[in-house]
């Protein structure tokens, strides 16, 4: 029925993985939709970015203009609004990322088009587009059907699928920016790099990581004692760092660090997708959680369904004994 327009995501000159992951989803769907996948890259000085994406065998449309030197959601919205009118794509896809969530909902409202956020799968059969997304931190799936529209809008969860391998080079087409002037009402100021702490958890061999299940910071010594017994560093989920139990630079997950220890012990962490994404590099994962359905168990090698407070003290004691 029509083409799929994928909004490429790049930052500071690098293409982010979500771009390729979207291409994987779009390529499968384009066959069903009898259309073509086109990637749209918006930015300034994009030659390398465009070449990199075109190497995945998908046509790249480039708006390369100093107006887009830094990401600005309002400028993206203006460009996409004009391109929806011009190109009439059947589906417009962006990452469910700090960039995508900053313009897609507004675009959906402006254009009065159906929109599903943080999609993990899409299907198209009998002229009907459906999306799957997750609720309750991954404990429930929802299947949604789009009402018929000229263009459907979706954001795609990071890491929902594997990025494909590069293939043959496709064509790159430069187009003029539909936006001609800068916007006075929203200005990019600067990027500030993440703070660096005393321990770099991306280099740790063993991590003991806590989540909401810790309940309060007075329970932290229990965790620290376990960590000390096995020479591990202590890390945490977003819930643990937000609560101030664990320093922010030790947060594991998409908004924190991606870690790659040989052993990751997750205590009282339910395993929201954003957390799990940061643990993919771990060799062995041990998870302790009261909820047998907790998503953290999907990446665990060893699982204990129980209250961490009933497990950790004995675990520490036994480890000390065995390690002499």
């Amino acid at each position: 029925m029509g083409n799929i327009l994928v909004v490429a995501e790049h930052r500071q000159g690098l293409v982010r993985d979500i771009t390729y992951e979207m291409l994987a989803i779009a390529s499968g769907l384009a066959k069903e939709m009898d259309g073509e996948v086109i990637t749209l890259a918006i930015g300034s000085g994009l030659d390398e970015v465009a070449k990199k994406i075109a190497g995945y065998g998908v046509k790249v449309m480039v708006i390369d203009d100093p107006l887009f030197a830094d990401f600005n959601a309002d400028k993206y919205q203006k460009v996409l609004s004009a391109l929806i009118d011009d190109l009439k794509p059947a589906l417009l896809m962006a990452g469910h990322t700090a960039q995508g969530v900053d313009f897609m909902p507004a675009l959906a409202v402006e254009k009065k088009l159906p929109y599903v956020a943080e999609t993990i799968a899409l299907s198209y059969t009998d002229n009907q587009l459906k999306a799957t997304r997750q609720l309750y931190s991954g404990k429930v799936n929802a299947r949604l059907a789009f009402k018929q529209a000229a263009t459907y809008l979706v954001t795609i969860r990071e890491g929902a699928v594997e990025a494909p391998e590069p293939s043959s080079a496709a064509s790159i087409e430069k187009i003029d920016s539909p936006l001609k002037e800068d916007l006075a009402y929203r200005k990019f100021v600067e990027y500030i790099e993440a703070e660096v702490g005393d321990v770099d958890i991306t280099q740790s061999d063993i991590l003991v990581s806590v989540g909401r299940g810790l309940k309060e910071d007075k329970n932290l010594p229990l965790i620290e004692e376990l960590a000390a017994a096995i020479k591990a560093d202590v890390a945490g989920s977003r819930a643990a760092t937000d609560a101030g139990w664990i320093p922010h630079d030790r947060q594991v997950g998409t908004s924190g660090k991606s870690v790659k220890p040989k052993l990751y012990i997750a205590l009282g962490i339910s395993g929201a997708f954003q957390h799990i994404a940061g643990v993919k590099g771990a060799k062995i994962v041990v998870a302790v959680n009261k909820d047998p359905e907790a998503p953290i168990f999907s990446i665990a090698d060893y699982a204990i369904v129980d209250d961490l407070f009933k497990i950790v003290p004995k675990l520490t004691e036994k480890l000390k004994e065995l390690k002499g």
Partner: protein
């Protein structure tokens, strides 16, 4: 500075088993405890911090049942001045665009310089309502904000990007800012505040009170149909360690030591 803060009453499912109701379109929340959405709690604190620093007033806006009045009173106990709660059977609340339309109708009846929302709800997690709300109201926005400075007629917002990188942007007011968790340290409500909150105005409105045609926000109005909720299979290849708690701990310790993992 006139601020509106939008908050949501959500179930705590962090360590609970979630079951879908036989209708396949809702979850059984009868056993859950409900409270303010995490990110919204930080938005409330931010709104009160702004009021304490720059003066003005804060209005709480929430869509929810009578039970959520407890949460709303708690926000007022912390320093918010008044509240509007919207309750109506006819709203398609699974759709963040519809939710934004309802909030916009309610916010449009108030004067405001700044609207704060949480950046994400614990339950449906669309991360979309605040940005859609800004578009409905025709005002500026910035999402996922981890630090907010109020300047003269503008705000400077530090947006949290992946990997902890911050993107600093400046917006002209009025604007909607969606607040990321960890931006501040939410206070506990003082006892005196809790007493005073009982006397503050909490207006309950339905769609008719808002002057909003139900046909704009009902299931028919939503461009997306919720077909089915279901529990995804957790595909786990984990070795499940069974037994009494002490046994489990001991077994795990020997696995870790014998496997040379520690």
């Amino acid at each position: 500075m006139k601020t509106i803060v939008c908050i949501k009453y959500v179930p705590d499912t962090s360590e609970a088993v979630v079951k879908v109701n036989p209708d396949g379109k809702s979850v059984d929340s009868s056993r859950f405890s409900f409270d303010i959405n995490d990110a919204d709690n930080y938005a409330v604190e931010e709104s009160v911090l702004i009021k304490e620093k720059s003066g003005g007033e804060v209005t709480v806006l929430s869509i929810g049942p009578k039970q959520s009045d407890v949460m709303i009173r708690m926000a007022m106990a912390k320093g918010c001045d008044r509240a509007v709660r919207i309750e109506d059977e006819r709203m398609a609340l699974h759709d963040p665009v519809i939710v934004a339309r309802i909030l916009a109708a309610a916010a449009g009846k108030q004067e405001f310089d700044l609207i704060l929302t949480g950046c994400m709800a614990n339950d449906d997690g669309h991360m979309s309502t605040g940005v859609a709300l800004a578009e409905e109201l025709g005002v500026n926005h910035a999402s996922m904000v981890k630090k907010l400075e109020v300047l003269d007629g503008r705000v400077r917002a530090h947006r949290e990007l992946e990997g902890g990188l911050l993107e600093v942007v400046e917006l002209e007011l009025p604007a909607v800012v969606t607040i990321q968790t960890g931006i501040n340290e939410p206070r506990y409500a003082p006892i005196r505040g809790i007493r005073e909150a009982q006397k503050k105005e909490l207006l309950v409105s339905n769609l008719d009170d808002l002057g909003l045609d139900a046909a704009l926000v009902d299931e028919e109005a939503s461009l997306v149909v919720l077909e089915e909720l279901y529990i995804p299979e957790v595909v786990s290849t984990a070795e499940i360690i069974e037994g009494e708690p002490d046994e489990k701990a001991e077994k795990l310790a020997s696995i870790l030591v014998k496997g040379g993992l520690v």
